[in-house]
Symmetry: C2
Subunit: 431 residues, 2 copies
């Protein structure tokens, strides 16, 4: 319950250590809630400067993680996510500067109205409180999450993946120095100083009402554990099983460019298209052209029988392929009878992340945008635009695939909640 440095050792008395983190976070949340916009900007700018001046220490810490990871036999993809270099460190600092420059999310008024009795109402944005963030390999999430939480007036407790423990620790040290420069409490951004998995259990238990929200960011098994064990609300990022639907009214050239980008710009991001649905009426003029481009780009094509008939390079898709987020240069292809078929396919197979219709037919587009029940529904654009930066949110802490509180890209503004202020002049309520 103090703001002095930790004296508890994380590994000798984990429960007391975690309870102390929670108590510090709760106190810091109050300071952050009442902090001025200028004070938060000062902290974020100092954090960015400290990241830049700590580059050597951050890269040295990252080398330890990389060496351990290589010895442990981490995959090339995981090692790439873990790796920092001078450019990536500058990217982390620039990200913090960008968060500093975002509009202030706290105190903005969503709505104002009056009642006939003269009472005036405002719905005002306020911070959530304490956010527990659990994430895997990418060490930059330490800075993104810490920065977005400070901007939105929330304290955070960060749990980095064990493979990035040293890198995350070095980044956290730079953030903590930035908080100090702006006279904000160290409890505003705390990094759990142990790789003991039991720490996650304590965090999910809510640390005696010290945690208001958990945001997990990682693979399916992490998310499943969080959703099973959390005793506090969770803003989860599940998978992105995204569809691009080529309607019979599509412009073929436009649709070709969009689908190629939606699948192949980057195959490892959650907004990449996994399945292309193509109207029967346009399949003969569209699919062979698409298949030629995909084949040339080295993308494996798995299709239903009707699509296989139109291109020899399309191999048979298993039923399960249409439920699989490949995150690789593999695409599912299916010919559908029309928009009803497409909507039913997405309803059954989609993950509620991002789905797009390609068409010049305004009525079909309007129906698709209304009827598809996903966080992001698009018309004539690449599903790879599913990203907080592309939405203009400046930075994102993840893409929420649940239905409550926030859906889609979660930026600083979505890490707030609201309260009502009511303004009277001696108003009493009649019996």
């Amino acid at each position: 319950m103090t703001t002095t440095p930790h004296t508890l050792k994380a590994d000798s008395d984990l429960e007391a250590y975690m309870a102390d983190l929670g108590a510090r976070a709760r106190i810091a949340a109050k300071a952050l809630r009442l902090a001025s916009s200028a004070q938060k900007v000062k902290a974020l700018t100092a954090m960015a400067a400290n990241i830049r001046s700590s580059e050597a220490a951050i890269l040295a810490a990252n080398k330890i993680d990389m060496d351990k990871g290589a010895a442990k036999g981490l995959s090339a993809a995981m090692l790439d996510r873990l790796k920092l270099d001078s450019g990536r460190v500058e990217g982390i600092a620039a990200g913090l500067d960008a968060i500093a420059a975002l509009p202030e999310p706290v105190g903005s008024i969503d709505e104002s109205w009056s009642q006939p009795n003269g009472l005036k109402f405002n719905k005002v944005r306020v911070p959530i409180g304490v956010i527990g963030m659990i994430y895997e390999s990418r060490p930059n999430v330490t800075a993104d999450a810490g920065g977005l939480c400070v901007k939105s007036g929330n304290a955070c407790i960060l749990r980095a993946g064990s493979e990035s423990a040293n890198s995350s620790g070095a980044i956290h040290k730079a953030l903590a120095a930035g908080l100090e420069d702006a006279a904000l409490p160290a409890g505003a951004i705390q990094l759990i100083a142990t790789t003991d998995r039991a720490a996650v259990g304590h965090l999910l238990g809510g640390l005696n009402e010290s945690v208001d929200l958990i945001i997990p960011r990682g693979g399916k098994s992490l998310i499943a554990r969080v959703q099973k064990d959390a005793r506090v609300p969770v803003l989860a990022h599940l998978e992105g099983l995204c569809h691009s639907y080529v309607h019979q009214g599509a412009d073929v050239q436009k649709a070709l460019a969009v689908v190629m980008n939606a699948k192949l710009r980057r195959t490892g991001v959650c907004g990449s298209t996994e399945t292309v649905l193509i109207d029967k009426a346009i399949a003969q003029s569209f699919l062979p052209k698409l298949a030629a481009k995909l084949h040339e780009a080295g993308c494996e094509m798995r299709g239903d029988k009707a699509s296989q008939r139109l291109d020899a390079n399309i191999i048979p898709a298993a039923d399960n392929d249409f439920f699989t987020e490949h995150l690789a240069a593999i695409i599912n292809l299916r010919i559908v009878g029309g928009i009803d078929d497409a909507l039913a396919h997405i309803d059954t197979h989609g993950s509620g992340h991002t789905d797009c219709i390609l068409t010049e037919d305004a009525d079909a587009a309007a129906r698709f945008l209304r009827d598809v029940d996903s966080a992001i529904v698009m018309h004539n654009s690449s599903t790879q635009f599913a990203d907080g930066g592309e939405f203009g949110f400046g930075a994102e802490i993840g893409i929420a695939t649940g239905r409550l509180h926030a859906r889609g890209p979660v930026g600083a503004q979505h890490l707030t909640t609201y309260k009502y202020t009511v303004h009277g002049d001696g108003h009493t309520r009649p019996a």
Copy 2:
């Protein structure tokens, strides 16, 4: 998985029965999501008409509940909450008509914006899906909850208290007939047809991903059980430990009228004031006048030592009184040194429901409205305005005291979530 009437018996195979309710609700939610505003209004209007034409049956069912309740020894207050008469049945019908007349919450656009690349974005209100509602004695909640869910495009599964089982069943029958009149599926509003408490456990377990949100409405033990056992998000209504703070800059006459109303208009509602904090600087001119009025009105006064010195009828308050939602003609009184003291008291003792400052000092009011972290923060008005109707929401399903998704009065508009629609013209994302 069908829309035919139930053939499963709730009491012989509860798990299969509950799973079937969930599956029906999920199918109905899709129909409701896509229903037109006119179709929902038609259903709500028909529901109101059916309530009126079923008055005799509803009152007969209520008599059974009342007789059972009296035999069981329910308190007078509980029996009063349970009791229906002709006026209350008309109130239920009028409530449904009022919900029908509310603005359509689905499809409204919160925000629209464009990015420099020409992509256009809309943030659009959509239904949540399936809502599980668990409530105690008042049978009118069956109609309020069913009506608000239909208006907001959500299917609901209702669990009424066992003491109101017959009344709720008769009301539900009238609602079901209204759904049928508007060609909406019966799965849109389902009432759990058993008083077996294990049914609640299944509902809280989420019925195999068929429930998106649980709303409990009842006493502390119910809410505690729901928060402990729920595997899906919960919108909880905890207690209302509300404060009225008489600042030294208060207008004495205005403050007297507001505080009397805040405490005594109705003592059993969650928005009633439990504790009055009074600035030392105004205590001598204000407190004796307030104490005389409270005493005359038969309100028991429990105060700290400083307040006891100012009026002989004030008895000593125990520490615990300041943490107690009396819901009775008992008031806590405390003299504070100034606004810092008052804010600290509310921070420690409040429940985050509703708190008010009485003052003519604009700076003090602004600070209180900013610094108090409650769902509703008021200036110069009775805390008893904490009510969806008084906010202009038309009807409410409860007052949320959590921090996520919705806070304060929960009306039809708060039973929605959002999605983004993104409008391009062949937009591809650069590498």
